[in-house]
Symmetry: C2
Subunit: 204 residues, 2 copies
Amino acid sequence: MPPSHFSTKERILDAAEELFARRGFDGASLRQLTSDAGVNLASVNYHFGSKDKLIEEVFRRRLDILNGQRLDALDRLTRQATLEDVLMAFIQPALELSREGRGGGAFVRILARAYVEHDEQLRSFLSDNYGDVLKRFAAALAERLPTLDKQELYWRLDIVTGALTYAMANFGIIRRQAGISEEQHMQQVMQHLVHFAAAGLRTA
Amino acid sequence: MPPSHFSTKERILDAAEELFARRGFDGASLRQLTSDAGVNLASVNYHFGSKDKLIEEVFRRRLDILNGQRLDALDRLTRQATLEDVLMAFIQPALELSREGRGGGAFVRILARAYVEHDEQLRSFLSDNYGDVLKRFAAALAERLPTLDKQELYWRLDIVTGALTYAMANFGIIRRQAGISEEQHMQQVMQHLVHFAAAGLRTA
DNA sequence: CCTATGCTCAAACGATCGTTTGATACGCAT
DNA sequence: ATGCGTATCAAACGATCGTTTGAGCATAGG
């Protein structure tokens, strides 16, 4: 795709999102990436400095918006909000992102990769920049699970977020039932995810 | 570690398991791998033919045993066995593998990687060789979930297996409570995983 | 003793990787 | 027109990748 009305930086970020999701960070070469984007090989280092910085920017571009929406949704909840409401505030923005096209689905798959890879540099980048979001959700969930001790809560949260990330990554692949609109389908999937996660967190 | 009472093939497989879990298939080089194993660089291609074949052998060595144990446990169940019993037959062998040392924990982490990477070649290898195991468990679970239609069951199973794989991969990281034996800890974790998964599958 | 076989070794192969270079083109203020 | 910062380009850099080679070693069978 040689010409486009998007800037070179945006073309690179879009192509990176797609290729990283498909081949992983190590498996995706800058030559394949710039070829997909229709830009020169050197432009990655010119605009981003290095491949690692490009990876960080791929995350930053989406997570600034995604986690902002999550916190907004969390702030909108009252003290009477249920466990399910909190989970929905966390899940819904991600599902909408994966639904809205232009690489959103690919990005959610990248998130799942990052979750399982345990790469030290990437984890500390995410923790430094977005760790407060997870902490705020953990606190909100803890309020709604008073009988659970802290240690138990933490490793259940780990499983739940892992399961949710995996599920959201595969959300795009799930074929929806015939005669159901995309909006209805997302609502349906979210209901299931929320119930699933709530059941896992509440189990005695 | 130059000398060892293990054969070169076993040394390579052990080192591969550890390094693949830490750096991924692309990120782990044969030079680092053979250096860790204390063997010559060329021995990988001599004994396994290629890096890809080595990867397959890493899976085969563990999955032949693991999935055999899973099927044995499934066969031992009666028709009256509950949903939880079926899930336990699937989970317990994997948790015991990750507990028993000598790379078992690393292998479970590799499994989680394979699950999220969606690599075409690896997926078809696993599907060709071990697809029947998942099919048998899916059938056993479907019997215990008569109200769930097939399509709904399939994507819930996808989430549950993804969540379980992720959880089992992180099982080794979870610190156990003081004053609890390792055996008790595993039983405790398994109870939680089974309850978690059963709740997710049963949710209306 | 000799040879055949299985294995290990250092060294090199060509390919591909991320990154850097220097030339060139473009837009815009002076 | 001229100078200057910004962006793009083909080309090359050195490093590292998976893989192959061919000589060398050990040991078991005749």
